[in-house]
């Protein structure tokens, strides 16, 4: 039960069937009005567990939330804030579809509790770029056709953003021959550094090409 239609600005409205209650909540994805229309929490806290108040700073905007402490950062983004760009694949840190940037560093949003991130700077795919003003990696993925189904793409792009920042800061990888030498992003380096993002369509050659384009442009 997942219908979508377009509104005037090209933004997508998405109806989400609330589990358990069968109540419909309206989420506006990527809209600047998302704050004003805070969707209802999907899961109610257990009666004996106190909900926890937290303010998540996402893509430059503060979102005060009251959450069951069990809520992962990924579920908070998708189900409570309505930012569904970050995807849930395995929900165990194995696939990378949920990759976001936490204070500029890539992490798996599924392996973190939302209540732990009060005051942290969170950037999702929606915050990296939007139609009409794409991030360089988003444009490169389009240009190189770096996907088929697209489900892993937000995680791939957020991960690549973090990866390029790590390389720029001089971080080595396990395939770096000399740990003290400057970082050079060869294909082998990019593949190793992106191994936390799985693409079931196996679009890896084009993902690699897209990242190589942006890495080359940055140096």
């Amino acid at each position: 039960m997942d219908g979508s239609d377009h509104i005037g600005t090209g933004l997508r409205r998405r109806k989400v069937l609330e589990a358990g209650s069968a109540a419909l909540a309206l989420n506006i994805v990527g809209s600047e009005t998302a704050d004003a229309q805070q969707p209802k929490p999907r899961t109610r806290p257990d009666a004996d567990i106190a909900p926890f108040a937290v303010t998540l700073r996402i893509n430059g905007q503060d979102h005060p939330l009251t959450l069951d402490p069990r809520t992962t950062l990924l579920d908070a983004l998708r189900e409570h804030v309505g930012l569904t760009g970050s995807k849930k694949g395995c929900d165990h840190g194995q696939c990378g579809a949920c990759t976001i940037l936490l204070n500029g560093r890539r992490i798996n949003a599924c392996l973190s509790l939302a209540v732990m991130h009060d005051g942290d700077e969170i950037t999702t795919i929606e915050g990296l770029g939007q139609p009409g003003r794409l991030h360089a990696l988003q444009a490169a993925f389009v240009h190189r056709d770096g996907y088929q189904c697209g489900y892993c793409t937000p995680g791939q792009i957020c991960s690549a953003t973090g990866m390029l920042a790590e390389a720029k800061a001089g971080a080595p990888s396990v395939v770096t021959a000399d740990l003290t030498a400057p970082t050079e992003l060869t294909d082998a380096e990019i593949r190793e550094r992106m191994s936390g993002n799985i693409c079931r369509c196996s679009a890896y050659p084009n993902i690699l090409a897209a990242i190589r384009d942006v890495a080359g442009a940055a140096t």
Partner: protein, 327 residues
């Protein structure tokens, strides 16, 4: 995930004191293994104490010339630290060989030491497992046990410790600093930190209830070549079938000293002084390497699907020693 109360620790001492009484309390830092296990209800703490705001994030030189690594230093930061890359390359390489960029950004030094085995039966709540459910049995013995231990296992548990970082730290003679619920601090050498399964596989370390890891201290870097070699089923993002951390000091055709630690083979990172003794003073060559490997794996025993690990460990060690002593 089972419901829990969430608290933030105000200080390391407060965190330890707060965890004193509760067998069902868990500290959370990176959470990359804990939340994974909580989602599967393999771990079901009723209280979770967030220690991520504690001031345990520094990497500092010690006055002895070593390194003190705060318990909350992320694996990625430690691997990229200039001093670690220059003086403790075996540690940098072990860290970089583990997990993924995303996980290394989150996983911490203390948490890495305390991560749980990846034994499939430990993860599967429908199967017997003495580590998860004491007394229920071990499904790995007589089951599919390709990733399991060949050294130090017991009739109760044949799980392996999954860390790469701890293997390098063991070779480097690291020590774990802690604070307990009474506020007392102590230092535990890494070779006495993790336990063998025996008949209590649930107890994996010698930490006392509530005791919190605050740092890992490395002595000054030892002389010699440092190598971390990890053999696994995929080139990236896979646990070790066999890993070797080696620090070998050789010159003029002879080995002065060697330190060897192994991962993927036992319930704890594994070190064999007898194998190191075979190399000390020995002439570089396959005779010495074979003698060291024979000593290192003398007590090895396979359980069926993991029989291959014995010759694999043997060959991997000899290859590492060959590389380490190449002129």
């Amino acid at each position: 995930m089972r419901a829990f109360t969430y608290e933030r620790a105000a200080s390391p001492a407060a965190a330890a004191a707060s965890a004193r009484d509760a067998a069902s309390t868990a500290f959370i830092a990176g959470g990359t293994n804990l939340l994974d296990l909580m989602k599967l209800q393999v771990m079901t703490p009723s209280r979770v104490i967030d220690i991520t705001r504690l001031p345990l994030k520094a990497v500092e030189d010690t006055k002895e010339g070593g390194l003190r690594i705060g318990a909350l230093v992320p694996n990625s930061d430690l691997a990229a630290h200039p001093r670690v890359r220059k003086d403790y390359g075996v540690l940098s390489r072990a860290l970089l060989s583990a997990a993924t960029g995303q996980i290394r950004n989150k996983a911490t030094t203390g948490g890495n030491l305390l991560q749980r085995t990846r034994c499939y039966y430990f993860y599967d709540a429908a199967k017997p497992c003495n580590k998860r459910e004491p007394g229920s049995g071990c499904a790995a013995i007589g089951g599919f046990n390709r990733i399991h231990a060949i050294l130090g296992a017991s009739d109760h548990c044949i799980a392996t410790h999954p860390s790469d970082m701890a293997v390098a730290m063991l070779a480097l003679d690291g020590a774990v600093e802690t604070i307990d619920p009474e506020g007392r601090t102590r230092s535990i050498p890494l070779d006495r930190f993790h336990r063998l399964p025996g008949n209590t596989p649930r107890v994996e370390t010698n930490l006392r209830p509530g005791e919190l890891i605050t740092a890992v201290v490395l002595p000054p870097p030892p002389p010699g070549v440092q190598i971390y070699r990890k053999v696994r089923d995929r080139a990236s993002y896979a646990f070790a079938l066999v890993s070797v951390a080696a620090i070998v000091d050789a010159a003029g055709g002879r080995i002065r000293s060697a330190r060897l630690a192994f991962g993927g083979l036992a319930h704890r990172p594994w070190r064999v002084p007898e194998a190191e003794a075979k190399l000390a003073g020995a002439t570089i060559g396959d005779a010495a390497f074979t003698a060291a490997a024979d000593a290192a794996f003398a007590g090895a025993r396979g359980y069926g699907s993991n029989d291959f690990k014995i010759p694999l460990a043997h060959r991997t060690l000899r290859a590492v020693l060959t590389e380490a002593t190449r002129a």
